[in-house]
């Protein structure tokens, strides 16, 4: 029972760590005003494929996304029609990581004797909740920001400049 609970907690942690991934080009929240790159975007295409990377440009017809080496083993630039995208979320700054608090508070429960029966699951749930909330603090999803407003978070908010070949974007 206890083992199952701990395994479940770590599974949640693991899943959180994957969805709250922060690439190097994302600034810390205090530096959002001096960051030269676009925000990190994750797009769900036709409910089948997930595409993620730096948002290069977006307009009413298409998204242009650059998957960098830190996002994907192969650097790729993809143009995805807006109509094929069912969901998206954008992350504009690195969240503060509270992941280290999870094992720390688990260890603290060991000093609680019998009360660990209560404090261990409470500590686990709360620290996982805080860590998850911290990691995903600086994000928008499709309910919070429209495709057109997403432009502001692209490398080129004005749209892909004429004369720039998408394959040359790094």
């Amino acid at each position: 029972m206890k083992t199952k609970f701990i395994v479940a907690a770590f599974a949640v942690l693991l899943s959180l760590s994957s969805c709250t991934y922060s690439p190097d080009y994302l600034p810390e929240s205090e530096e959002i005003d001096v960051n030269q790159y676009g925000s990190y975007i994750s797009l769900y295409r036709n409910e089948k494929e997930t595409i993620w990377g730096e948002l290069i440009a977006v307009d009413s017809l298409k998204f242009i996304v650059l998957s960098k080496p830190e996002d994907s083993p192969v650097r790729t630039i993809k143009i995805i029609p807006v109509k094929e995208v069912s969901k998206y979320y954008v992350k504009y700054a690195e969240g503060v990581s509270y992941g280290g608090a999870v094992p720390l508070f688990m260890l603290a429960s060991l000093t609680h004797g019998y009360y660990a029966l209560i404090s261990l699951p409470v500590n686990l749930l709360l620290t996982i909740g805080i860590a998850s909330s911290g990691d995903s603090a600086f994000t928008y999803d499709a309910d919070e920001i429209s495709v057109m407003d997403l432009k502001m978070f692209a490398r080129f908010p004005q749209g892909l400049p004429p004369g720039i070949e998408v394959n040359k974007i790094r």
């Binding site: 609680h112 019998y114 409470v122 004005q158």
Partner: protein
């Protein structure tokens, strides 16, 4: 407030804080295609934001907050950094940008206080964790258990322990066998299992775990006595009226419901005694009465064990070595405080002689599992009303249930050794071999769980079951106890227990007020312990 409630309230507060913050969405970015619009929006801002000028060719210039717009020259100037479309730096320093070359100006408001809620939540949680940790370190008796605990349902926690083994055996020379009634329901399966857990900071050395079983028919029960005899009984006569020093306690004593009667200790003398009177009206003239009683100790004895270890301080190893080689020391330990505190003495009122006659005494160490025992009563009257008096140490005993039964006779149960032991769900043949070899010990460390399986020989036959466990345990010395070293106190405890019990009364009272309340209030929920429903 109860510790459990404090933890839940804290959890609720933190969840609320984090949920509010998690739901917060920051809108901080603005784009301007026109310089005039930019000027209009930023003219009343005290500290100008950094400005990003996105050029039509894909370059971007990030200007520090010293930038200014020259509407005559149609330029933006300031100190900044220029990047190409791949965001490589191409220039740093003073720049003059033609507004006509800019596609979009971007400003960002600083996001502040984003971590306040999460940090507050973390600090509150840390505060509560530290407080509980400090409480447990300074009052280890309230947080850490003792001796092996046994569970019919392996998922139960210590509040629902069905038995605790050899609680007084705190060193090898004090090893003994313990028998606990399991109060089991009607058995229909030929296989029975019980899980042994080590839930304390102790090393448990278990020599034997067996099941004692006696077949029973409908309406029959078999009870175990303090002298390790087994009695076949029939009928239950509930208590008609029970009174303690506080008044009527019938409701607490009448049912097996875990609503226990207990008192607090005497603030001047920990060996003060009190009386409980039990009246059984119309129990019958021709019965051979036995008193069935469900009881356990408060945390008083646990307190004394931990105190003694604390007084030994860094010489604890020497003292325990002496216990191993000196019978005199063991006798002193058994004859000291334990003797002064005593058990639950049971008396029966003789109507003819108007006098109380002692029938015997009940004693079992341990505050966790409830002991269910029987004491045959020496009833010399021909009255159908039986009056029983319990004399017990104040603040030492918790009584859940008392009733009379009719003893049919003594019986000898079957002894059944385990045929399988599971360790973390896997068969542990080595553990089985150790348990079935009287010369060897199964060592159980903190966190260990062993599930013992027993074959009851005859399927569809109902048995009354008892758990037999034999061994000893070694309490782990905790660093924080070493500072409590006080050999004079230890000497007083062993050599002059009565004086010790008087001098310690005030200190214990403080401890009792918090620890007993905290410990037992942390009970998760009332669980039915009834024979019929467990």
């Amino acid at each position: 407030m109860k510790t459990k409630e404090i933890i839940f309230c804290t959890a609720l507060i933190i969840i609320s804080i984090v949920a509010i913050e998690a739901c917060e969405t920051y809108y901080f970015r603005s784009n301007y295609k026109e310089a005039n619009e930019l000027l209009h929006d930023t003219k009343n801002i005290g500290a100008k934001p950094f400005l990003k000028a996105h050029f039509k060719n894909g370059d971007v210039c990030i200007l520090r907050n010293t930038w200014k717009v020259d509407t005559v020259q149609n330029t933006v100037s300031g100190t900044g950094t220029l990047y190409d479309f791949n965001r490589e730096i191409t220039f740093q320093g003073n720049v003059d940008i033609s507004i006509d070359s800019v596609a979009i100006f971007e400003t960002n408001k600083k996001i502040s206080g984003t971590e306040t809620g999460r940090l507050a939540g973390m600090y509150i949680l840390a505060g509560v964790d530290v407080a509980i940790g400090v409480y447990c370190i300074t009052n280890p008796k309230a947080c850490f258990g003792s001796c092996p605990t046994f569970y019919k349902n392996e998922n139960d926690n210590f509040h629902f322990a069905d038995a605790e083994g050899f609680s007084s055996a705190i060193s090898p020379s004090m090893e003994y066998a313990d028998i606990d009634a399991l109060n089991n329901r009607l058995l229909t399966d030929h296989e029975f299992s019980i899980t042994m857990k080590n839930e304390a900071l102790e090393t448990h050395c278990v020599r034997d775990v067996k099941l004692l079983a006696y077949p029973r028919k409908d309406g029959e029960r078999i009870y175990h006595s303090a002298g390790d005899d087994f009695y076949l009984c029939e009928n239950i006569y509930p208590v008609s009226n029970a009174t303690g020093t506080e008044g009527d306690i019938t409701d607490l004593i009448r049912n097996e419901d875990m609503l226990e009667r207990f008192s607090s200790s005497d603030e001047n003398n920990l060996s003060s005694k009190e009386e409980i009177i039990l009246n059984f009206d119309n129990a019958g003239k021709n019965i051979n009465p036995g008193l069935v009683i469900h009881f356990r100790q408060t945390l008083m004895t646990t307190y004394f064990i931990y105190s003694a270890m604390g007084y030994m301080g860094d010489e604890i190893g020497d003292f325990f070595a002496e216990i191993e080689v000196s019978k005199e020391t063991v006798n002193k330990l058994n004859g000291g405080i334990k003797k002064e505190l005593g058990g639950i003495d049971v008396y029966v009122w003789n109507e003819n002689k108007s006098k109380w006659y002692k029938s015997g005494s009940l004693f079992e160490t341990g505050p966790i599992a409830v002991n269910k025992q029987l004491l045959p009563l020496k009833n010399n009257t021909d009255s159908s009303n039986i009056r029983v008096k319990l004399v017990l140490n104040k603040g030492l005993w918790r009584i859940d249930y008392a009733a009379l039964t009719n003893i049919k006779g003594k019986v000898k149960p079957l002894e059944i050794s385990p045929n399988l032991i599971l360790n973390k769900g896997k068969a542990d043949d080595a553990a089985l071999a150790l348990i079935n070899d009287p010369g060897k010990l199964l060592i159980s460390m903190p966190g260990s769980e062993y599930k013992f399986y027993f074959n009851l020989h005859q399927q569809n036959k109902d048995y009354e079951l008892f758990l037999y466990s034999k061994g000893y345990y070694l309490e782990w010395m905790r660093e924080q106890w070493i500072k409590d070293k006080d050999l004079l106190k230890l000497n007083q405890m062993i050599e002059h227990p009565l004086n010790f019990l008087r001098s310690e009364a005030k200190d214990y009272k403080i401890y009792e007020a918090t620890m007993e309340k905290e410990f037992w209030n942390s009970k998760i929920d009332t669980k039915n312990f009834s024979y019929h429903e467990n």
